[in-house]
Symmetry: D2
Subunit: 382 residues, 4 copies
């Protein structure tokens, strides 16, 4: 089952780490640490193997992948020996990277993207291509009448307006090319009625939003712990210090708001009430590709006794996100092969803000994921 | 369903907090925060109500409960207004507290305990009495031939040897009185072949060991998180700083070893491998009834990238343990009423070192507990 | 040396704690923990004793001091037994509290304040009255021509403009009454050319700004440590979570900016460069009178090796500030008695943003304070 | 002023980092971050320059320095580019490394060491050689009559007993060769009456003990902060998690005790009382050359209000220690040149357990060091 993995933001840290890792796994140079689809409960015949994966993508940047890999190695994100050993493979992937189209109407740009996707699929004789958005977080878009249904959308795109934010333009183009779409960011992506309707028409599955890689991952197990113990969470306050390009982007008020929102939703929906406090994102260049999050939780126990918990998470976002990108590509490809159409709430395990998912409890999400893959491997889940 | 709750260590902090809380709930003076049996997923008709509970117990100490309650109020463990409002009820409970028997053979002492239990049940016309051990942690006992089977045990108890550690002597006496037994401590309790056989003969259920109230509770959700994400935990090191009587006892090497052991087991069994590092328990008098635990976890993600997490837990053990004691008494009483015999692995949710339980994942334990109570409420689980 | 301590914001948490503590020290009911003027290096005959202190003040609020003391006892800020034991003394202090004047021109209000101060001094036959501002932090005021010199100021005050922010109006009135002035907040206070000139004319000393009670105190010893070891601080990021009235006020953008500014100045001036990162203040009601600050410091050592330090400070601002208020009143009274005029940079030890002080290193500030008090006790420092 | 730096433990992490750093500074390849003798307050003509330093040493290990440097680069302790750029210089230093002598009487071994030192000094025409002990921490030695005076010592060394622990044997040999001696470890070194007398006879200065590089450094500024604010430290508990060879050694009970002792002394001597709690050292291999220390401090403020502070220090011991080794070599060489004899308490700034030093306050130690170097540069301090 030859599967294309088309990365929007293909020269970014997450994408580069994912490509290096995918190539390293194919070459047997590394263990699949961090890949949940390689856990005994999930792996099986329905998923494309790492050797089945072929990488391509769009990016506005033009830095060669080998150079990006070297920079990530210098920053401690991946081992220098892998960057060196895989230089030739990375150069081969370059042939499948395309510049992000600019100029013309949005309809023109979408047509270019669709053509790039179709050519990629044909060139490598792929069974399918999964498009994964790993580009920088966007601010929320302004409403537009074109968002309402496919016809309105097509008409609007041909005009001069910037109807869709970039994540949604890629989603539109992906759907037009018959490609399943995964949004690893909190951007809009496919979350517009026009696009959801189109994906349904084309018989395509999709998944998102916002990969759960750090503080929110921890929240998704700690919040259920407090709930299961009937402890009253009084306040939950956090700060996220980020370096790297992601940090600079997220420090922008618009993007910050989108991200912070999806972070706090986990608490309210898990606990059944919203505790005091909030989450802040701050840019600290010196942290580079690493992120430090600190959370303080105050809670009351029996007879109202006040207690507290703090945690510090010091993680490398790219190293946490990249294997999940591979997992999502494999799972979404398998869902497509099985005939699944529309949102995939069974993949909520991977996301801060999952589409249509009834729970934020990591372990319930896990159980649902296990059931889903078992069905896939048994030939079902369609 | 009038239910006795007989506390071994009835004047200790956990027991006193439990009694004050139970009386406050009966009087409608407090909310059931921290009582898991009051969560929507668990509550129902099979459980005795708080008004059904009658408290009694043994202790080596003689400090009046009202005095203990005042001391706990001064230490911030419970509100002073409850200690004041419930003074008369606490004095009434005094009548059902008995000194821990001393002197004579262990058979003599067991007979006294059994007689105390039987008299308590008769005096209050109780349907049953659940014995809960909340006394100080013991060192592991020396092996003795009397541990092997009921006959050997009875013969040995009549002799001059200290055959059983105190927790097991109380368990023996409880079984002889026809009372279900719960061990909230890491002590031996019912975990001897002779006692398990006796409980089976008498048709009694039992549960244990070692209430999961702080650092281990957190471990039981964080360790599955790392496992579900296929992250490799390299080291997990912790330190527990405890004040209060519990701290002084646990700083004793023997007790420390018992406690530390059950703390580390969670990791090995959840992760499938034992990471580097260990857990230390230290006594710091100034912390009083509160406990501060700090844990450092180092882990590797995709391509081996090193990351880390730290947490600090600052909890009041009595405020965390006391509502669980009430929960366990209610659940074990309901299991007994439903005809359950032998260990209750469905109560693993409550324990660091659960008897016969296949998992240390809190959410799996929770699911099992939900199923168990649903069956109880439906009239089953027997 | 009978000394009045006139508190602007006399019913606030800091003032109430200071009054309770001052009365408790006079009555021998508590030890002078937290009072630096009782350390062997500082104490001596030049300072008024605790028995010499007489309390009065202004406040916009009208809650009785006994009620405020009870509330602080309930919140864990001070022991309930002191609130009870000192109830009569607190009621006596009520007679010396005055409502903050409202209405009329600022000149009218200043005249009322001056009259209140003079009457207080006469009524109790005090040698002097030190006015200490412990009211809520203000936003920075708009510039006004009246700020330039005493004549312009007097003319402007008689008009309809709000020429001075409240802290400065109290400072003006204090100077007019011949009272030394201490600003424990980051507000403007005496920091206007017109007021400084007036204080000089009247021969009065003054001190400020912004009591150093938590995170900044720690910074003032850690930043010199990094500097003395020639370690390169790359980033220093902090978050302050505050409950209580202070938290709500400081969460206002204007006040927040004033406070954050004085917090970061310590780093730049101590290190000789400004590291990345900043400080945030957030309001978390549940923290009550306590404050939790978390700071992350990343730094480079020999050959550029990256390292990090984190700290969490969980302090009670009132319990930290109140004894310093007593210290400042005693020291400023002694400076006045010794004939000191103008700013007192020797009191930099107490402040985040000290007037005219050349260093933010706590130990250098300490040395200067020790020298200053030694001179005072020797009959000098004038 | 050509100065030899003879490292006992010359192939260890601290020594290798120090040699690489010294060579890099000589070659202008790095900045002197972490070298306190390069701060404006300390630098000056009395100190040998980095170009004046010549490295040699003893070690029981035989791994080439280039290999050690590569390993440290891989572990993130130093930049790989330095290991590469300095490979030839490191190989040149190899010629001045000698095996630690074994076999024969202790007198024989001391003679070998002395001969090695003398030959090194002659070969490089050095003005003097400073011997610095950076080898692994030893357990405390058993008392021996030979420790009492030089004559008893010489007689005992010729016999079959292991009279001196290794650190002291090197100190003895250094003194016999006319070399000043610095002990960067908590081992015995020169702290025996016989050795102190010998050093005095030979007119040699010496310094120690136990380089202050992490948790204790922080303690030496935080403890004075609490003292200067008259806050009552109730408990101070810490845990040190160490990887690397040092960790494994220090986890040995004997060495652990020596280290822990010198860590706690700082608190007692600074505060004037010993708070509750203690410090633990644990070995966690995964931490490699880094060390994580966590400390919890509970303290009382005004009216007894309880508060707390926590800190986590995540440092690279070699990167913190190595520049101090260069500093100590430079300062001790200058002291020797100035004719100083006996212990150098002015160097207390560098040590956890300084010889003859009256204070553990870092800033007081700093002031003393500044005065000392000013005198040296002015041609005094002799």
């Amino acid at each position: 089952m030859r599967t294309g993995v088309w990365l929007v933001g293909a020269r970014g840290s997450v994408a580069t780490t994912g490509i290096v890792g995918g190539l390293a796994l194919r070459a047997g140079l590394t263990a699949p640490t961090g890949c949940v689809t390689e856990l005994p409960d999930l792996r099986g015949p329905a998923l494309p193997t790492f050797a089945d994966l072929v990488f391509g993508g769009h990016d506005v940047a033009t830095t060669p992948l080998t150079k990006r890999a070297d920079a990530l190695a210098a920053a401690g994100v991946l081992p220098g020996r892998l960057a060196t050993a895989l230089a030739a493979d990375l150069t081969a992937v370059e042939d499948d990277l395309r510049p992000a189209p600019t100029g013309g109407s949005q309809a023109d740009r979408a047509a270019t993207i669709t053509a790039d996707l179709t050519a990629f699929r044909d060139r490598h004789q792929l069974d399918r291509v999964v498009v994964v958005n790993v580009s920088a977080t966007e601010p929320a878009p302004s409403p537009h009448p074109g968002h309402a249904d496919p016809d309105a959308l097509r008409a609007a795109l041909a005009g001069p307006d910037e109807v869709l934010p970039p994540s949604s333009l890629y989603a539109y183009a992906a759907v037009e090319a018959g490609c399943p779409y995964v949004d690893f960011t909190p951007s809009t992506g496919l979350r517009l009625p026009a696009l959801a309707a189109l994906a349904a028409q084309r018989g395509l599955p999709y998944a998102g939003h916002d990969g759960k890689t750090g503080e929110t991952l921890v929240k998704s197990v700690l919040a259920p712990m407090f709930a299961m113990r009937h402890l009253a969470v009084r306040s939950w306050s956090g700060v996220n210090l980020l370096g790297g390009g992601d940090g600079a982007t997220l420090a922008e008020p618009g993007a910050n708001a989108a991200k912070v929102d999806s972070k706090q939703r986990v608490l309210g929906e898990t606990l059944g009430y919203v505790p005091q406090g909030g989450t802040r994102i701050e840019y600290v260049e010196d942290l580079g590709d690493f992120k430090t999050a600190w959370d303080l939780i105050t809670f009351a126990g029996f007879l109202g006794t006040g207690m507290r918990m703090e945690f510090t998470w010091h993680g490398c976002d790219s190293a946490l996100a990249a294997p999940l990108v591979l997992d999502l590509a494999r799972l979404t490809a398998a869902a497509h092969a099985a005939g699944r159409v529309g949102p995939l709430p069974e993949l909520a395990f991977f996301f801060k803000d999952p589409i249509d998912a009834p729970t934020h409890s990591l372990s319930e999400q896990w159980q649902r994921l296990v059931d889903f893959t078992r069905d896939l491997h048994a030939g079902g889940a369609g």
